[in-house]
């Protein structure tokens, strides 16, 4: 494979790839994201391949193994293109029928279709399924169209167009475009991405680093995993554009070790991009060089914090440090470093190719673009959803998520993982927006959205998150280490029937200390689950303490 030496050569390659593809040829698309793989996706794929071979259909029917499609509740998912027929909960025994009836004879197998519970209608086409219809899958949509181990697939859907455009702009103009787009970091803090790039570019020094945070530690969050597994090139493209804008020649992707498929697919993507001259030396003949290395985490939630991540990259213990001097000035090895989340990087190619004006039309005044949420918990349609900022929680949970199963009632939704807060029913019309969610006592966070029904004990949930954070605290600073330890004792006590008068007030005092005195955001945001559950569900705490009763019947007391 010869390295591409110009944007023109890239377009020539792209055209030749597209020309060789017949858009009318049936293609069986099989989801092999981690979720569907755990449902037997790999064996299912092998079965389809065998069946095609057995029936001598190799030249007539294609198979494409893709990353996560997002509709995880209904996996294993199989989509027959170009008809866009969606089959859900596919089993190996269904394979021969699907191959013969649908792929070859174009007939729909009714029983394999998705049934919309609201209308009781069977839906044939993927795009008509309410779960997908109400989303705006600008970033995630390509997962269904590409085999993540094929750079040709990525090129066929327009991949690396943005890179070719960016290197013809000045770095300053690229930064201006990202600033104008209003993109804010998708890792949780929501810091304006363009400003961060600008600070790093303007920092003193010739050696600068670009880092991708793929440590995704929030329990229940798997957006970054699915992007890194399913569309690794989109992340790489974003990073190359960022490195070009900032003036960096070396980058790192820090992937948590618990994501082996993401590590594998990202590694393959890097090799392919380098082989094609889209990464490495003299990218597209521009003279700009940028190399990326993958480093794996060692199993610590705190290493998702930017300074702890950088310490870990340096081979030191993953401990945060004070950020009075920003990492954009002194980061990795003391050099200016720009760290962004996987989803943030994945937004960059879209912003550059379609322009900031187009991008900033989506979302709200303060939060532009879309956000991918991992919708989990007591919800009918669990999976990954991509929605424009400004959509309400109600629309996500009920219209897209299909509401609460088993006829139960909605009780609360947790956004932002262990750093976020729990919001009750009367907040369901809140818009999903960085500032709106923070005002309500929660936060956007990285995108975890856990729905809870009436059989959830909110005190138990607060205890769960506090226990998680106590275990993940790095232990460096007193308020977080000792404070979470004591908070856990109190919450364990309350949920075990040993709560006493004054416990709630003591928890609130501890929370205030952690908020003010903790060294990093782990400690500073640890109070959120506790404080939000006290604010909106104080009666549950009081029932546990005063009456020794758990209203939802979860805690075994009394």
């Amino acid at each position: 494979m010869a390295k591409l030496k110009s944007p023109g050569e890239l377009e020539t390659l792209r055209s030749s790839i597209i020309q060789k593809r017949d858009p009318n040829k049936p293609c069986i698309t099989i989801c092999n994201g981690t979720g569907c793989q755990s449902y037997g996706g790999k064996a299912l794929t092998a079965s389809f391949k065998n069946e095609i071979k057995k029936q001598n259909l190799e030249s007539k029917v294609d198979i494409r193994v893709t990353g996560c499609h997002g509709f995880c509740e209904r996996g294993p998912l199989v989509i027959i293109k170009p008809a866009e027929i969606l089959y859900q909960r596919v089993r190996i025994k269904d394979v021969p029928e699907i191959v013969l009836e649908t792929a070859v004879n174009n007939k729909v197998i009714e029983r394999m279709l998705y049934t919309d519970k609201a209308s009781n209608q069977k839906i044939t086409s993927e795009k008509d399924v309410p779960f997908y219809k109400l989303q705006k899958r600008l970033i995630f949509g390509n997962n269904g169209l590409i085999d993540p181990t094929s750079i040709e697939d990525y090129l066929a859907v327009g991949g690396y167009t943005a890179l070719a455009k960016a290197i013809k702009m000045t770095p300053e103009n690229v930064i201006e475009e990202v600033k104008k787009s209003g993109l804010r970091g998708r890792g949780g803090a929501g810091f304006p991405t363009g400003s961060k790039w600008e600070s790093t570019r303007n920092a003193e020094g010739d050696v600068k680093y670009v880092i991708c945070n793929a440590d995704e530690g929030d329990p229940g969050a798997f957006m970054d995993r699915s992007l890194a597994e399913g569309n690794p090139h989109s992340v790489l493209e974003g990073m190359v554009i960022g490195a070009y804008a900032i003036g960096s020649h070396e980058g790192f992707i820090y992937i948590r070790n618990e994501y082996p498929l993401a590590v594998r697919n990202m590694t393959t993507a890097i090799e392919q991009a380098e082989a094609n001259g889209l990464l490495g030396d003299n990218i597209l003949g521009s003279g700009f060089s940028f190399k990326i290395k993958i480093k794996r985490g060692g199993g610590a939630f705190v290493c998702g914090e930017s300074t702890a991540l950088m310490a870990s990259l340096e081979g030191k213990v993953g401990e945060p440090r004070a950020k009075y001097i920003h990492t954009s000035e002194q980061g990795l090895w003391g050099k200016p470093s720009n760290l962004n989340n996987v989803e943030t990087w994945a937004n960059i190619p879209l912003i550059i190719s379609k322009g900031a004006d187009w991008y900033s039309q989506i979302g709200t005044a303060g939060s532009k673009g879309t956000k991918i949420f991992a919708l989990t918990g007591n919800i009918t349609n669990s999976g990954l959803v991509e929605v424009p900022m400004g959509i309400t929680l109600r629309e996500i949970i009920f219209d897209i998520g299909g509401g609460i199963p088993k006829g139960r009632k909605f009780k609360a939704v947790q956004t932002g993982g262990p750093s976020g807060g729990m919001l009750p029913e009367n907040m369901l019309d809140l818009s999903v927006d960085f500032d709106e969610l923070t005002k309500a006592g929660s936060m956007m966070g990285s995108g975890g959205m856990i729905v809870m029904d009436e059989k959830t004990c909110m005190v138990d949930m607060a205890r769960y998150y506090t226990t998680f954070l106590e275990g993940e605290s790095c232990g460096k600073c007193v308020p977080c280490r000792e404070g979470l330890r004591q908070m856990k004792y109190i919450l364990d006590g309350i949920t075990q029937g040993r709560g006493k008068e004054g416990d709630i007030e003591l928890l609130e005092e501890l929370c205030a200390t952690l908020l003010d005195a903790s060294l990093c955001q782990l400690g500073q945001s640890a109070p959120n689950p506790v404080l939000s559950s006290i604010k909106y569900f104080r009666d549950e705490y009081e029932a546990h303490i005063k009456e020794k009763k758990c209203p939802s019947g979860v805690c075994k007391i009394g």
């Binding site: 213990v317 009075y324 106590e470 232990g475 600073c477 007193v478 000792e482 003010d516």
Partner: protein, 243 residues
């Protein structure tokens, strides 16, 4: 020079100094536990937190041991908010190390008589300020002990928690730097015993060829001789008996 205000007092201080440096130079009290002039600032105990307002009007809480002075900075070391935090931190430390006299003293000074929290049983006075490991790594240069584990399991240990650390030279710098007495060093009968929170080690002491006093661990002497490129025989006499 930089002009700052601490608790209403106008103070001139050198650039590149921390708020803590400036406060101490002007006899303004800010409690600390993990601060140590000999090693890099750590910012872990959080006792030195102060309220600041920058010249541009940005208000925040920062650890004075790390934050560098800036022109026009306003600092409050004893505001209600700070005192609340300080008291809570000391209450938490009292619960961790109920037997530490140093913590009890600091707590009393801040107005904390007792702790409302669950006390850790059988604790060893270690508050994980890491003065010992930082001194061992940055000053002595051998990194014989270190922090291990995470969160509430965090502790100061020797490599693999064994009762010997090859790198340790028995100098006792860790014991000197420990603010709570969690590390002890005793010289008795030609032997030095250093006790860390979870391990202890013995070192053979060198006897002075003139006065017969045991004056330093043989291992430490070997290390110093090697580092300075001087012969071991230079150390046969103790410092008092040398010319």
């Amino acid at each position: 020079m930089v002009n700052i205000t601490i608790n209403g007092r106008q103070i001139k201080t050198e650039e590149g100094k921390t708020i803590l440096d400036a406060a101490r130079k002007n006899n303004i009290y800010i409690p600390t536990l993990c601060a140590n002039e000999e090693v890099s600032p750590y910012g872990a105990c959080r006792l030195c937190l102060v309220e600041i307002k920058t010249a541009k009007g940005r208000e925040r809480l920062v650890t004075s041991c790390i934050y560098l002075v800036e022109e026009g900075l306003t600092v409050q070391t004893d505001s209600d908010r700070i005192m609340k935090i300080r008291k809570m931190l000391l209450e938490l430390l009292l619960a961790r190390c109920p037997d530490s006299e140093e913590i009890q003293k600091m707590a009393k000074k801040a107005g904390v008589e007792k702790t409302r929290f669950v006390e850790q049983e059988g604790n060893n006075k270690c508050i994980l300020c890491a003065n010992c490991s930082r001194t061992c790594e940055e000053v002595v240069g051998v990194a014989a002990i270190s922090l291990a584990q995470r969160g509430v399991e965090r502790e100061i240990v020797t490599p693999f928690n064994e009762d010997f650390s090859d790198a340790c030279i028995g100098c006792g710098s860790c014991a000197y730097s420990c603010p709570t007495g969690a590390i002890t060093m005793t010289d008795v009968k030609g032997k030095r015993i250093i006790k860390w929170p979870h391990n202890s080690m013995d070192f053979k002491l060198k006897k002075c060829s003139v006065c017969g006093q045991y004056w330093a661990p043989e291992k430490q002497i070997k290390y110093i001789a090697k580092k300075s490129g001087t012969p071991l025989s230079d150390y046969d006499k103790c410092p008092d008996c040398r010319d």
